[in-house]
């Protein structure tokens, strides 16, 4: 992702420039964190790495933007409906596509999620075309000035929302019945099932949750960067990188990985070359998979 804030590339490297890189890194990091969180939820409950994860971001953003642009709906309801559209898609994906073929093996599952991703992108291309769609700012406040760098209210919102979501999700997993069912399913599906957990329902729930995370991220992102119908695949790659960076099986790790990736990319883009910003993020993925596939912060071993 390009840094959404106005970067001060022409000025000499001062503390304010560095702070500006940090802010834009945290903003795109929040987005990656949301996508990574989605990966983490579905992976730990069903063992599926969902190729379509990034398409939920695209759907959330585009539905919100088009409701606002075409039907003059205020920003907040548009964002909520965008997220709802993503959630509904997640429900269909989990129930119609993933559940029936869950026992067919990893290879077929990957291909199916890849197919879902292509299907969603093809539909979005027909509905929204190739041009990006934008959304006005939700809070519409003056940008905050901190140490000579500016931070827009939308950036603050998406960063705060990331931590709120993480806290909410952690509490959900720890203290609610459904959360416990989810944890049990992620440890051992068969045992969980024999203890009375409705495993299929839990897996569908995980897909809905992951879609909500993607949809929220897309809706919150669209005021900062206009969303196009073809961003999904890149979002999938970036979110997957973040998830691998922090360790895919832990939500906390996914969020840390997201912010880390965003900040590394922003600094690499600022100090090396903004044209290579995406490539550097992807190079991190390759290096990481080669040398530390279990994530930087995980002590447990990867599931075989």
């Amino acid at each position: 992702m390009r840094p959404p804030t106005n970067s001060a590339e022409e000025q000499p490297m001062s503390s304010s420039t560095i702070l500006q890189f940090l802010f834009s890194g945290l903003t795109s990091g929040a987005l990656y964190a949301f996508v990574a969180l989605g990966f983490s939820v579905t992976y730990s409950s069903s063992g599926v790495v969902n190729f379509a994860q990034g398409q939920f971001v695209m759907l959330g953003g585009l539905v919100a933007a088009s409701l606002n642009t075409l039907f003059d709906l205020p920003v907040l309801p548009s964002m909520l409906l965008g997220t709802a559209a993503a959630a509904l898609t997640g429900l269909v994906v989990g129930r119609v596509f993933i559940l029936p073929i869950l026992k067919l093996g990893e290879f077929r599952l990957i291909l199916v999620t890849l197919g879902i991703s292509l299907f969603l992108e093809a539909i979005a291309l027909l509905i929204w075309g190739t041009d990006p769609w934008a959304l006005p700012s939700l809070l519409d406040l003056e940008p905050f000035r901190i140490g000579g760098a500016s931070l827009s209210s939308d950036s603050v919102l998406i960063i705060v929302m990331t931590f709120t979501t993480l806290a909410g999700f952690t509490a959900f997993v720890r203290y609610t019945r459904w959360g416990r069912a989810m944890r049990a399913t992620s440890i051992d599906r068969t045992v969980a099932s024999s203890l009375g957990v409705n495993v299929p329902l839990t897996i569908v729930l995980a897909f809905v949750l992951s879609a909500v995370f993607g949809g929220v991220a897309g809706a919150l992102l669209t005021p900062l960067i206009a969303t196009g119908s073809q961003v999904g695949m890149l979002m999938t790659l970036k979110g997957f990188t973040a998830a691998v960076l922090g360790g895919i099986s832990s939500p906390m790790g996914a969020v840390i990985g997201g912010f880390l990736l965003g900040v590394i990319e922003a600094f690499a883009g600022g100090f090396i070359s903004s044209a290579y910003q995406n490539a550097i993020g992807l190079a991190i993925l390759i290096l990481l998979l080669m040398f530390r596939p279990e994530g930087l912060f995980t002590l447990t071993t990867r599931r075989a």
Binding site: L118, Y276, L282, A283
Partner: protein, 329 residues
């Protein structure tokens, strides 16, 4: 060993060669059809390489576009900047994509399933960025125009019919090589790897070596196909080498049938002709492809070729044999 699941009658190879050789007699008057036939040959060559590593070996590599691009750019640059004869630059394209494939194979093929898919996808995207940004060498987003036509002595491959024969000679050569590999011990080893890597290794299959060489061979086929295509268009730009192309190749194999060369051919024909057949509605072709792809991976694990084979050729005995094990897991 003759594995019934991959049994291919000999008459089909002959028929394919015969059709390929005589097709220009029928369609040489229609430039659109000739263009399609050349495109099918190019896609078929790329897919033959992919069917070894992905179709038979079960490794989801999405790097095929990258090697296609490496071959295309190697040949385009050598033939324009250094004035190398085009056939030499084709050879250089094979070497370049093969060597890069070999270097990449060592670290990347240790990864499995979705990790391999993501890493190869990332590699392709990095490569496209490198091509776009090194403008002084590659021409950036605008690319390079006026690529020379391949010539052999005084004979120039300057008409679509001549180019068609050039492309299909290579495609059928690649198919012949792949066919022999599939029939050999290596093919059996690859199928074992697809079932279980640990199981294959414990039965004496050199997993790393098999995977590496199939990956390299796939890279070479894709590289030469890429070079053949850009000299046909006489124009090159980075847009054709994105992830979409790699995914399109996987789609071709999934729709046509990933474990047989006939499947790759059927898939290539379907994917190239469908947008043309849809005529005014070709905006819907990505949607149609994704639906076909989803339907194939969910209901026809061995694509159209597999479905046709099991309904036409199978004897009762082989059906019994196959029902015993989950197919190609």
């Amino acid at each position: 060993m003759r594995d019934l699941a991959h049994f291919q009658p000999r008459w089909m190879s002959f028929a394919l060669c015969l059709v390929a050789a005589s097709l220009p007699l029928l369609i040489s008057q229609h430039p659109n059809f000739m263009n399609l036939a050349i495109l099918v040959g190019i896609y078929y060559s790329v897919c033959i390489g992919l069917s070894l590593i992905f179709g038979i070996g079960g490794q989801l590599s999405l790097a095929q576009a990258a090697f296609y691009g490496i071959g295309a750019y190697t040949s385009a640059l050598l033939s324009t900047k250094l004035g190398l004869p085009v056939f030499l630059s084709f050879a250089a394209a094979a070497v370049a994509s093969g060597v890069i494939g070999w270097v990449l194979a060592a670290p990347i093929l240790r990864l499995r399933t979705v990790y391999l898919a993501m890493a190869t996808l990332a590699f392709g995207e990095i490569l496209v960025t490198l091509i776009r940004e090194n403008r002084e060498i590659t021409g950036g987003s605008t690319g390079i125009i006026n690529l020379p036509t391949p010539t052999l002595g005084a004979f120039s491959f300057d008409t679509p019919v001549r180019y068609y024969y050039l492309v299909w000679t290579f495609a059928l050569l690649a198919a012949w090589i792949a066919h022999n590999i599939i029939k050999s011990r290596v093919g059996a080893g690859l199928r074992a790897i697809s079932d279980s890597e640990i199981g294959a290794a414990s039965c004496g299959v050199d997993v790393v070596r098999y995977k590496t060489w199939m990956f390299v061979l796939g890279a070479i086929f894709a590289g030469v196909a890429g070079a053949l295509y850009v000299h046909y268009l006489s124009f090159i730009s980075p847009d054709s080498y994105s992830a979409n192309f790699s995914i399109l190749m996987v789609m071709i194999l999934a729709i046509g049938g990933r474990t047989s060369l006939i499947g790759a051919f059927l898939g290539a024909v379907i994917v190239t002709t469908l947008p043309v057949a849809l005529a005014g509605y070709d905006a819907y072709s990505p949607l149609l492809f994704s639906i076909l792809f989803l339907a194939a991976v969910m209901f026809l694990p061995d694509g159209i070729a597999g479905a046709a084979r099991s309904s036409l050729i199978d004897t009762g005995w082989s059906r019994k044999w196959r029902s015993g094990k989950e197919f190609n897991q």
